[in-house]
Amino acid sequence: MSKYILNRLLIAIPTIFGVTVLIFVAMRVIPGDPLQLIFSESTGVYVLSDDELAAARASLGLDKSYPLQYLDWMGDILSGDMGSSFWTKDPISAMLIRRGPISAQIAVMAVLLSWLIGVPVGMLSAIWRNSLMDQLSRVGITIFIAVPSYWLGLLIILFTVLVFSWRPPITIIQLWEDPLGNLSMTLLPAMALGLPLAAGIARFARSAALEVLYEDYIRTARAKGLTDYLVVWRHVFKNAMLPVVTATGLALGGLLGGAVSVEKAFAVPGLGSLLVQGLTERDWMMIQNLVLIYGLIYIFVNLIVDVSYAFLDPRIRYD
């Protein structure tokens, strides 16, 4: 098992290298350089003389050659220095520590919610195939897979505003400071993200359970006199979980990306809205490092998904 994990980690290294190179190249393809872009957009408000521009460039290390700039960046990242926002001068790492937990919490809650709803719905729908419940859940799945998560978020806010005259708070309340206040700001975004995900999970759980239900070992389990409950719980559920884990892993990219727009819909001050803010303000250091963070999170989470397959399915470990 540990050999398998080590192997996976080693495979991730060249990918991470490629990710950093791609981001670096993309950020340098911008015509001129990042400063040029910032100042050409706000010429009316913020005009720097050529000397000042050159000084700013030197202070950011933009006057060096590309390979040197890349090495500088990597050195900074490895030593934990993310630089600071170009406009507010706030250190990016401090913003990450403040906003990261909120985004992570919403993502985790969304996944939990999707499992809580999706797995039982999918399993029951498979077990009672073609029943009314199955028909209804299939319609629900078809609808919710198509619903954009950020629009669901807008609908939820619209509903709470029109019915309860209540808007979710937009300040940062950490879970350990005020659990209730924290839930009031994270629960609804988690729902908006989690319900479409639940539909995807239910679909996978249903088709996985349908396949398992016709396996020989299920007939054997029935034949030896296990109750329906035990057959489902011990045999069907356990064997149908692998595709569900796969589905969750596949959905995580969509979840991370979708979270950006959901955070925008709810005005949640998380990582996603920080990225959007960086993008609209052309805060290139922030964009560069946040996109890297998103890439790293995604690679890391996929690694965990890979490892959990191996944990759930011994056949993969020995491949």
């Binding site: 060249p14 990918t15 991470i16 490629g18 990710v19 190179v21 791609l22 981001i23 993309a26 950020m27 393809v29 911008i30 078809t142 609808i143 897979i145 198509a146 619903v147 954009p148 950020y150 629009w151 807008l154 609908l155 806010i157 619209l158 505003v161 029109l162 996978f204 088709s207 595709p243 589905a247 995580l252 990219g253 969509g254 979840l255 991370l256 990306g257 979708g258 950006v260 727009s261 925008k264 819909a265 990225l275 959007v276 993008l279 609209t280 052309r282 964009i287 996109v291 998103y294 890439g295 995604y298 690679i299 996929n302």
Partner: protein, 309 residues
């Protein structure tokens, strides 16, 4: 069919192969469509919705009751009425007309980005799967890197580099579709490689290029069609989300996504019709694409299900 017909080349078939005879081509397409409709009525409903959307987009200027860009400050945020069936927005523009024109952008962006992205995936997947060895090894690491970004984040990165606009949105979304379609096509090609006719073609001295074009590519056409239709929903979502974030299609051009941007911030009592209708339009478009894609997959290539899921 008699034996002689199987063994001897049929002159009529040869003629059809050389020049597509229009009436018979239309008849064949019609026949295939009817078989598809019979095999999956729900998929046909999806196709029908896309057909209606296409008509709305093509004839938007005739169908839309009002100009989608014309502001009317005398009619700001009016609830749905006989004059404005779906209400008016913060600038008094007719929401229904904007949605009809919005389908134009939805269709242009989703169809072209999926076409471009999957065309690259098609070629790349065939080359990678058929050539194998070093080309496969190295080029698949590039796919790994592209796959390491959540699609929307990669699109945002590309858009901040290239600037928001119709062309750049299409390219950004196309790039996010490349890695997964490349992988799927590659896996199909790997199994096509096992066929004896590939080996036979090698033996008679066919070049790699010829084998890829004449023998491998035709086997991968059905899978890429299925992948492309299944990608349509994702592309529609991506365009709407990017535009919603203000990084996609810039206003005032009506895109279903940018119509949803900032609708709740504008007023103390948010106008529900501004939230509900554009979102419903997006949802229906995605749902129709999904239903059609699923049905097409079952129709063309049931085996593909495992590879995509």
């Amino acid at each position: 069919m008699s034996h002689s017909k199987v063994l001897l080349p049929d002159p009529v078939d040869k003629k059809v192969g050389a020049v597509i005879d229009p009436p018979s081509f239309v008849r064949r397409m019609f026949g295939a469509t009817m078989r598809f409709v019979r095999s999956s009525p729900i998929g046909a409903v999806g196709l029908l919705f896309w057909f209606i959307m296409l008509l709305l987009a093509l004839f938007a200027s005739q169908i839309a009751p009002l100009d989608p860009l014309e502001a009317n400050y005398g009619a700001i945020r009016q609830a749905p009425s006989a004059l404005h069936l779906l209400g008016t927005d913060n600038l008094g523009r007719d929401v229904l007309s904007r949605i009809i024109y919005g389908f134009r952008i939805t269709l242009i962006v989703s169809l072209t980005s999926v076409f471009l992205g999957d065309l690259v995936g098609f070629i790349w997947g065939i080359a990678s799967g058929y050539l194998g060895h070093r080309f496969d090894l190295i080029s698949q690491r590039v796919v790994d890197v592209l796959m390491s970004f959540p699609a929307l984040i990669l699109a945002l990165l590309l858009l901040v580099v290239s600037g928001a606009g119709l062309t750049t949105v299409i390219i950004a979304i196309a790039v996010t579709r490349i890695p997964s379609s490349t992988r799927i096509i590659r896996s199909v090609v790997l199994s096509v490689n096992q066929n004896a006719y590939i080996e036979a073609a090698r033996c008679v001295g066919a070049s790699h290029m010829r084998i890829m074009v004449r023998h491998v590519a035709p086997q991968v056409v059905a899978p890429i069609l299925v992948v492309a239709t299944l990608n349509l929903g994702g592309a529609i979502f991506a365009e709407s989300a990017l535009s919603f974030l203000g990084m996609g299609i810039p206003p005032p051009a009506p895109s279903l996504g940018n119509m949803l941007g900032g609708v709740l911030a504008a007023a103390f009592r948010p106008p529900w019709w501004l939230v509900v209708f554009p979102g419903l339009a997006i949802t229906f478009a995605i749902m129709a694409a999904n239903l059609f894609g699923d049905a097409l997959r079952d129709f063309l290539d049931p085996k593909l299900k495992q590879r995509i899921d």
